[in-house]
């Protein structure tokens, strides 16, 4: 009986080892390209087969994307995955999602390209030397909410009503930036209110439970709060506090996977243009976004997804190229060694605020600029590639 048992167990072990070894041979990155495209060396033939005319890779590539769960900043990635735009270029996508930008930047070993809000981009650039390579959203959806019966709801411009109130929000983020902009517009400072650091979903839960006098939310939470009857008293759009969100790449990917990064950069903005091309495409995109939210456990409905899509302001391909190549003066006049890229200027708008708040140091600003942590080399190479392929931009 014992011998029989030993034989069975040995057989099971051997089979499991064989299965495991067999599995290792078929890594996703080496899988067969999709049937839709048969990459060959003939460029002209290939370019006609892909949606945007981009050239598919001869060998299957693996692209690792980092995204904030439920954030619209990664919308083109979500849509490109759903519509098979990556697949037709012979690119296998592995998407890792995170709850916040700083955490995603810490985990930069797990992705090649990521889309995050500017607070995350700053952590990536200053803390981990991760360059921003393009603007992926111009966010105006950081919103201040109070309850219907709040005095502030009745008179949101009365500064006296804000004094001593408690606000729930994720500190050190664009929500924080928006709150301070609102206070500044009323002649107040952060010292005159109380803040409690919470992530947006916890802030919403706590506010629902009667905590705090106000909250600052972003992403789909904004629409959920609106639908729940909370009163929007200000937002980053109305306060002229637009925050540019950026695509970030790892230096390793830029150096060792350059062609993949250039193609991905171009595909991101071509997909953004595709989404904005028609109402039908917007509807398709909102469905993919809804699916993404459901997969990630983010509360979302069809209506919320469409509303998110409507506030998503990713620049077009031509605007992106302009943003990454146009040169402007430093608004503060602090950096005189060279002109700034428009994208750098957009990033500094938020960063300068954090420097004023003593969250970042003035040296960090210099570090960002001296080390060119807004990198337009990928944009320039993408332009060359698009010209070569005859794709208008």
């Amino acid at each position: 009986m014992k011998k029989l048992l030993v034989c069975i167990l040995t057989l099971a072990l051997t089979l499991s080892l064989l299965t495991a070894c067999g599995g290792a041979q078929s890594k996703p990155s080496e899988s067969v390209p999709s049937e839709a495209v048969e990459p060959t060396s003939g460029e002209a033939e290939q370019t006609t087969k892909t949606t945007f005319g981009l050239e598919p890779f001869a060998e299957r590539q693996t692209l690792r994307i980092g995204a904030i769960a439920g954030s619209q900043t990664a919308m083109p990635f979500i849509v490109a995955m759903g519509e098979g735009f990556f697949d037709e270029l012979n690119i296998e996508v592995e998407m890792s999602t995170f709850t916040a930008g700083p955490a995603m930047m810490e985990a930069n070993a797990d992705w090649d390209i990521a889309a995050a809000g500017v607070a995350g981009n700053l952590v990536g650039a200053i803390g981990y030397d991760l360059p921003a390579v393009g603007v992926c959203d111009r966010e105006t959806n950081q919103v201040l909410f109070v309850r219907k019966d709040s005095k502030i709801a009745k008179d949101p411009t009365n500064p006296e009503l804000y004094k001593g109130t408690t606000w729930l929000l994720p500190l050190g983020t664009t929500a924080h930036y928006t709150l301070i902009k609102q206070l500044e517009s009323l002649g107040l400072s952060m010292d005159e209110i109380k803040t409690v650091n919470m992530d947006v979903s916890s802030a919403y839960t706590a506010f629902n439970g009667g905590e705090g006098d106000g909250m600052v939310l972003f992403n789909t939470n904004v629409f959920i709060a609106e639908d729940a009857g909370y009163v929007r008293i200000a937002d980053s759009g109305s306060l002229n506090a637009t925050n540019s969100a950026f695509l970030t790449m790892t230096p390793d990917a830029i150096e060792n996977e350059r062609d993949l990064m250039i193609t991905t950069w171009a595909l991101f903005y071509l997909t953004a243009d595709w989404i904005n091309e028609s109402e039908e495409h917007k509807s398709i995109a909102s469905n993919y976004y809804l699916e993404h939210c459901e997969e990630e456990g983010i509360a979302c409905t069809e209506l919320t997804a469409m509303r998110t899509l409507n506030i998503w302001k990713c620049p077009s391909l031509s605007d992106s190229i302009a943003t990454m190549t146009n040169e402007v003066d430093d608004d503060k006049g602090l950096f005189t060694e060279r002109k700034l890229l428009q994208a750098e200027s957009e990033m500094l708008k938020t960063m300068d605020f954090f420097v004023e708040q003593e969250k970042y140091k003035a040296e960090d600003r210099v570090y960002l600029l001296e080390n060119k942590l807004v990198d337009n080399s990928i944009t320039k190479d993408a332009v060359v590639m698009l010209d070569k392929l005859g794709i208008t931009h």
């Binding site: 500190l171 050190g172 650091n197 003593e358």
Partner: protein, 278 residues
Amino acid sequence: MNGKVKESGLGLDVEEFKRKKQKNAYMMTMLSVVGILSFLLLWQISVSMEWVNQKFLASPMQVLNLFLVKLTDASPDGNTLGMNVLASLQVSLTGFTLAVCIGVPLGLLMGWYRGFDSLIRPIFEVVRPIPPVSWIPLIIVWLGIGLQAKAFIVFFSAFVPCVINSYTGIRQTVPVLINVAKTCGASNFTIFWKIGIPSSMTMVFTGIKVALGNAWSTLVAAEMLAASAGLGYMILMGRQFARPDIIILGITVIGAIGMLFSSLLNIAESKVLGWKKV
């Protein structure tokens, strides 16, 4: 005799023995100090020689410098170090004290009274493996975001070892002692009070020490719930603004305070359980 007490029968020199013991203790202390200094030196060298990127790991000197700066400077988290320490002490000590006050008696009662054990144990066994952090969504709804909510998370992490160790400690009471007390006519409660509890104290103190460690280690999670001050909050803000020096300072201060409280507990233990060393 020259001040020495010789026990000729055993050939032991008590003074010599004491001196050797002291010397040994001194050597052990010095070894600990050398160990810490060597660690700090290696850390400093590895950062200074750029074996490790300074952006990812601040040097001990940088942390020390930041410690001095943070005593008066509130940036970037908006609080001085003292304010953060006080806020964390409030949270951790509230949770820890509650855990000891509730957990130890509960464990002792469960260990002594079979009926009580049968009543409570199934619930405790279900609740025990739940990670304290997983309570956060419910805690926000039940207790809000104030001190009580954060203290609850700390309480939960500290409560479990208090119960388990007290339970195990009292179950290990030597049966001979119990039988002697019974023979002398002591009531069950008297035996529990005068034999069970004292004999369980070693395990109870071990549980309290584990609970203290858990209380401090859960602090960051508790302050992730909601906070505007505290060492955990300071660490989170260090993360938010890419400041590893702030993170390391927070970690170091938590470790130092934890060690201080652990030493205080050791002193309390040796006072309370001094009789056991006889």
